[in-house]
Symmetry: C2
Subunit: 344 residues, 2 copies
DNA sequence: CAGATTGTGTAGAACGTTCTACAATCTCTT
DNA sequence: AAGAGATTGTAGAACGTTCTACACAATCTG
């Protein structure tokens, strides 16, 4: 069809020629570095505008900064991650940094492959959200590029950490249910995986649950079903807990998405919510707020966590080497899936 | 704290030195190009393995391929996009290509900025999902880098198109509702925006709706509320339609997420579903299948669409210049939100 | 056995930036 | 008037690849 003459890119050399200066001068203007007069700055900027020049980020990446931040997720579908992404993006909105998201699935192998791919693409910083790749691999990554880990409570010198106070979050839930009169309060968690992480969010949440139950002298009522944070996992955990003779009157699901699975299990068994069973989720995702669900959940301010991650990352890029841990305070959002336990 | 000696990257020169050959030879082995003996291939590959060498994608990008595909979305939260992403990723799984996702929001300005950013990062191909940036900007983008547009039915020589047969999908919905006995079938759509696109999915769907209504001699019952494909938009559209005196007995929402908003409106008005109102969504996202919702919806095989997009992109990258349009056949998934209309 | 052909390897110039040296000019000091 | 700074500009070497052009050797052809 048409000749398809690939339009050659406008480069810094074109700008330099147009403005009648050296490429070095243009580069200085671009980075507003020292050693350039006001007059030249103006001339160069005018040329840039006239030619529609945009710096080639990949080329920049070869020498230092590519102005790209990578966000590594296991799964793009978790709406909570949308909040985190928005936080990161908003925090970087006024800068030249661009956020690119990689979705690697849950497999540690794929995740570390993706992290490598991001490094190979000269990214300036990485945000790893609840990575399933091993801790030593994360540390190796963080030695190469500034890195923030979101979710896991395990810290290390090499990376910064942004977590939710999952211990407090779990306490909020248990306290709420106890106040309503519940005693047989069960919990759905996720099974421990390999990878040397000892304080994943789900572990801290179930520790918090246990501890809160203990505080209320309900140690005997502790029941935990560990599957995975997914609809299917929630369903299996729900069946496991609800099929028992000493059926709980309330279930604290470790994640909203798992709560949805519990909901399915409850429907199957003909249980009414909150009449027969109270249910609480975690994350306060959009799923929790949709009308027919209206799930009581714990909000962990994903947007703030993302924004914090971006801030820490920039600090690291600017040379901070000491490691930082920030912890966000969770809030309980009470909706319609919790109420008093059924009469005996 | 620790000295933090940035570990220098293993480069092609290191491999060459280790194997006792030239960098050109190593490069040939990497690209398995012509002109290299079996013996040398083996020697180089062994060196690569021993040194743990990984090619620097950004540097590669400066000369041709960066082995990176960009997927541009308006919003990471739409679960339908998760299907598309999985399709693209799976189709490229056996290759060296990596998929990176950019989430630009709905603003055309931000979208085209992100598309530019992807070009600046030397991406080899772009998949634009229902872009809101103007058609001429998409065409300009496509002139620079192989591009596939998913969703919009408007075609152009410069890019390939992957669409769902939204016309047929709308017909499936209307036929289903008419078969159940409905006549007052309303539709929620999205307001037309700027940008020279004339056949966005929502437009084709509402055309299909109108046409199907006509086929059933129900032209007089056509009611369309155009807001946006979002929970809030669905709510507003739902209120608009349900507050009328001639309240519809069924609503065909243009997207699952909008259907959820309609659901909220119906709950507010005390309408039972499907007793008082039948409701159908579109996209068959995970939201549709969760237990308390159980939404009848139209499945448009997002995974296949993504895989197709990846295939078309690779063909373009390999030199095809003729433009291709592929259309997927939608399927109606009947769940519990549709039933016979209420008695008079 | 001369010339042509094929096979295998290397040198070195791109690609578009950044940034270290250094050169040239100006402005003060004394 | 002669340095000493300060200011403003430029040349050119990186960064890690790819790929064209060419050199050399081995093999084939008549």
């Amino acid at each position: 069809m048409k000749p398809q003459i690939a339009v050659r890119r406008v480069t810094i050399a074109d700008v330099a020629r147009h403005a009648g200066v050296s490429t070095a001068a243009v580069s200085k203007v671009l980075r507003n570095a020292y050693g350039v007069s006001a007059e030249m700055t103006e001339r160069v900027q005018s040329s840039i505008a006239q030619l529609g020049y945009r710096p080639h980020a990949a080329a920049r990446g070869m020498r230092g900064r590519s102005f790209t931040i990578g966000l590594l997720l296991d799964n793009i579908r978790n709406p909570f991650y949308g909040d985190i992404l928005d936080g990161v993006t908003d925090a970087l909105a006024k800068t030249d940094f661009q956020v690119l998201v990689g979705s690697a699935g849950f497999s540690p192998r794929h995740q570390s492959r993706l992290a490598d791919a991001m490094i190979d693409r000269a990214m300036d910083g990485l945000v790893l959200v609840a990575p399933s790749m091993s801790r030593s691999q994360v540390i190796a990554t963080a030695k190469t590029v500034p890195t923030v880990v979101v979710g896991h409570h395990d810290t290390a010198d090499e990376y910064d950490s942004v977590v939710d106070d999952d211990m407090a979050g779990a306490a909020l839930v248990v306290d709420h249910l106890v106040t309503l009169g519940h005693q047989r309060i069960a919990h759905t968690s996720a099974t421990a995986t390999e990878g040397q992480w000892t304080r994943r969010p789900e572990q801290v949440r179930s520790d918090g649950y246990r501890q809160a139950m203990h505080r209320h002298h309900l140690d005997g009522a502790v029941r935990i079903a560990a599957t995975s944070y997914s609809e299917e996992g929630g369903y299996r955990a729900g069946r496991e807990l609800l099929d028992r003779p000493d059926r709980p009157t309330a279930i604290f699901a470790g994640a909203d998405i798992a709560a949805v699975g519990v909901l399915r299990a409850a429907y199957e068994l003909g249980l009414r919510i909150p009449g027969d069973l109270s249910l609480v989720g975690y994350d306060n995702t959009t799923i929790a707020s949709i009308a027919p669900i209206n799930l009581t959940s714990v909000d962990q301010a994903g947007h703030d966590m993302g924004a914090t991650a971006a801030r820490l990352l920039r600090e690291r890029m600017d040379g901070r080497s000491r490691s930082v841990l920030t912890s966000a305070a969770p809030r309980l959002i009470i909706r319609n899936t919790t109420g008093p336990p059924p009469g005996p």
